[in-house]
Symmetry: C2
Subunit: 236 residues, 2 copies
Amino acid sequence: MAITPYTGGRPVPAHVVAIVSGGLDSTTLAYWLASRGTRLTLLSIDYGQRHSKELAFAREAAGALGADHHAANLRLTGWLRDGSALTSPDADVPDGHYTDESMRATVVPNRNALMLDLAVATAITTGAQAVAYGAHLGDHAVYPDCREEFVRAYEHMAGSANAGFLTENFAVLAPFILMTKADIAALAVELGVPIARTWSCYRGGDVHCGTCGTCTERREAFTLAGLPDPTTYASW
Amino acid sequence: MAITPYTGGRPVPAHVVAIVSGGLDSTTLAYWLASRGTRLTLLSIDYGQRHSKELAFAREAAGALGADHHAANLRLTGWLRDGSALTSPDADVPDGHYTDESMRATVVPNRNALMLDLAVATAITTGAQAVAYGAHLGDHAVYPDCREEFVRAYEHMAGSANAGFLTENFAVLAPFILMTKADIAALAVELGVPIARTWSCYRGGDVHCGTCGTCTERREAFTLAGLPDPTTYASW
């Protein structure tokens, strides 16, 4: 039986702001929301990540889905960048499987709260009833801001911060929070997501490197799902 | 009896990241925290406000207090700016007293959550045990993100988002939340804050205009406190 995205028993609202990086998970999220008939506004965050070419893939997905697309500038400077291999030009991107320690090196401090804040601001200006992001079960162990407890706490905070500016039943959706990346890969195939036109690699070369943490996870997801991976990798 | 800042019965932590715009309230907050012996990191947010000259005053306050100072770039583009007279070059800054309606015109969507989330990121990279901001009783009626309920919801969310990255008793401080602006003016005088070296005016001219909403409130605060206002105003 296929694992299906989780809505917490609530219907998907009529207009959703989805945070879409252009990676496999968030692009599949956008396609899934579109398949439910939701009006979509896609939001990409340019936080100076080295793999910023993914933003072009997000724009492409918005075009394919007929969705509005906005890109917000959140380039963190100096003191906020130093700890993160995602944005610091001096840091090494770790190879192979994520361990807790190497994964922490890729954490931009407080990233999901910041990205959701910009999505909530977008929901206020566009009148959307929800924001959505692509957190999944594989993020759970290392990233506390990918857990259900955080999603509920964030939803409560956002409603409290913006009472009178947001609809009363404003929701924060993390439909993949109980799904593995293999489940997402299977859903992507089922929905007809143009998988080769999504970008995961943290190294940001011409093609996926095939060896960094996200490439390793992406390849493994298709293997575990028993599905062909249409991605071109520089090495295996 | 003097009204004193509120700490919710908790001691002020050893190292606090304070959001300081360079205005009267937040500069007084920094001086009050410094008077408690707290190590301070000041954070200013450049969100493209027209009165960005206040950032120079924030830098000056940091220098006077021997505090670290960081300025984060959060220039919101297009769709996030249109509703706000603070950042939109086309919008009129309303004159005179804030009514609910004119005050809403100066709201940057979801602003305090965004600013606090940048402060929390700064707390993570600097090891601070708390963040603080200058919300006061006068903000209460119009801005839901200046209310105690929001502060508690935000504190819970931030702890949940960053479990393992923040100290366990991480706190969000809004010490002026039960004080009026007149109380803050009195505290500023008591603490020896260089009041003329703080900036409130939303119009951002050479001197305070004296007629916009914040100038009106600033002048009135000193009048109500029965204290001389050392600020130079273009008109009364």
